[in-house]
Symmetry: C2
Subunit: 198 residues, 2 copies
Amino acid sequence: MKVSILTFEGFNELDSFIALGILNRLRSKGLQVHITGPSPKITSMNGVTIETTQALEFASESDAVLFGSGIYTREITKDLSILNRIKLNSNRQLIGAQCSGTLLMAKLGLINNLPACTDLTTKPWAIEAGVKIIDAPFYADGNLSTAGGCMSSQYLAAWIIAKLFNCEEAENAIYYVAPVGQKEEYVEMIMKVVKKFL
Amino acid sequence: MKVSILTFEGFNELDSFIALGILNRLRSKGLQVHITGPSPKITSMNGVTIETTQALEFASESDAVLFGSGIYTREITKDLSILNRIKLNSNRQLIGAQCSGTLLMAKLGLINNLPACTDLTTKPWAIEAGVKIIDAPFYADGNLSTAGGCMSSQYLAAWIIAKLFNCEEAENAIYYVAPVGQKEEYVEMIMKVVKKFL
C-alpha cells in the first residue's frame, strides 16, 4: 500500500513530517510513504531543502493521499501546471488535507458540501472559496478528511492507518510515538477524535 | 539567538522537525533555527534526504542545542570523527536531547548524575551507559534537559522557548501549532509538563 504526502514549495514541516513519521510505523507491514512533490527538491517555509521521493503523478496510484500545507498554497491553487498533474479519485483513494491543503482539496472538487477543517490563517480564504469551515481539529466522511492546526496531522495519520489497516494498528503507531509515561492517555486523546469518524 | 538541532544519518523526522517547526514560530523575534549535521546532506530513517543548514561546528556558537535521535545513534557515540566536532558548554548553552540523543549527551559528559528521559528502545542502552533513566516524558535541571517518546519533542521546544524568551512566548508557539478547537487544552497539556522545570 502506498501513501503520498503532497508537499509543495514553502511547505510546513510539521504537517508533512508528522504524518510521514507516524505512517512509517506501518512500513514493516507493507506501507510505503512518499513525500510527493512537483519537483525533485523543495524548500520548506523555514528554509529546509528536501528531496521529494516521488513525483506528483505518483499520487494517482497511491491508496491514500494527504495534501500538506504551506505558505504558498493560495498561489498553487491558481497554478494549472501543478494542479493538472494531480489526478485523484475519492471512490478508490483515501484523501485528506492539512490546514491550507484544504484549499487544494476544494479547488480539485474533492470537498463539495462537506464540512471541513483548516487553520485559523487559511479560514477566511477557505470560506471565500466556498468551503463550509468548522471549528474542529478533524473531520472525515467516507474516504475524505480534513484537519486544522499543525498538530492535527496526528489525527490524519491515525485515520489513514485505521482505514487502510484497523484501529488497533493506529493505536499501536500512536503509542509508539507518544511521550514516555503518558502513552495510554496520549493514545486515548488522539483516538477519541478519530474514532468518531470510523 | 541561534538554535542547533543536531541531526544525523538515519534521523527520526518527528524529533528534528517538530522541534524545528515549533521553535521557528519565534523566527520573527530573532530566533534562528538550524538543522545542524555532520555532512551537507543526510537521509532520515524513513529515506527522506535533506540538506543540513549548518555544519556540526555551528552548535558551539548556538544559544541552545538539541540532540535529535535516529537509528544509528549508538554507532555515532563511538565515532570520534563526529563527536570531536561537537563542543558544548552547559554553563552558557541550553542543551537538550530527544530519545536516543540522550546517549550522545551522556557520551559527551553532559548528563552526569541527572535523571534522564529516553524512548523505550534506547532505555536498556542508556542504562548500560550508566544513565539514570526515569519513566517520564521530560526532565530538565538548569540548562540541561531530556525527553522520551517522539512527540515529547513538543516539550523540548516549549522548554527552549520558555528559557530563551519566557513562558508566554512558549504558550503562544504551542497555541499556534495546536489542533483547532482544542488549542487551550493542548497548551495546558504541554505547559503542565514543562512548567515544573522552569
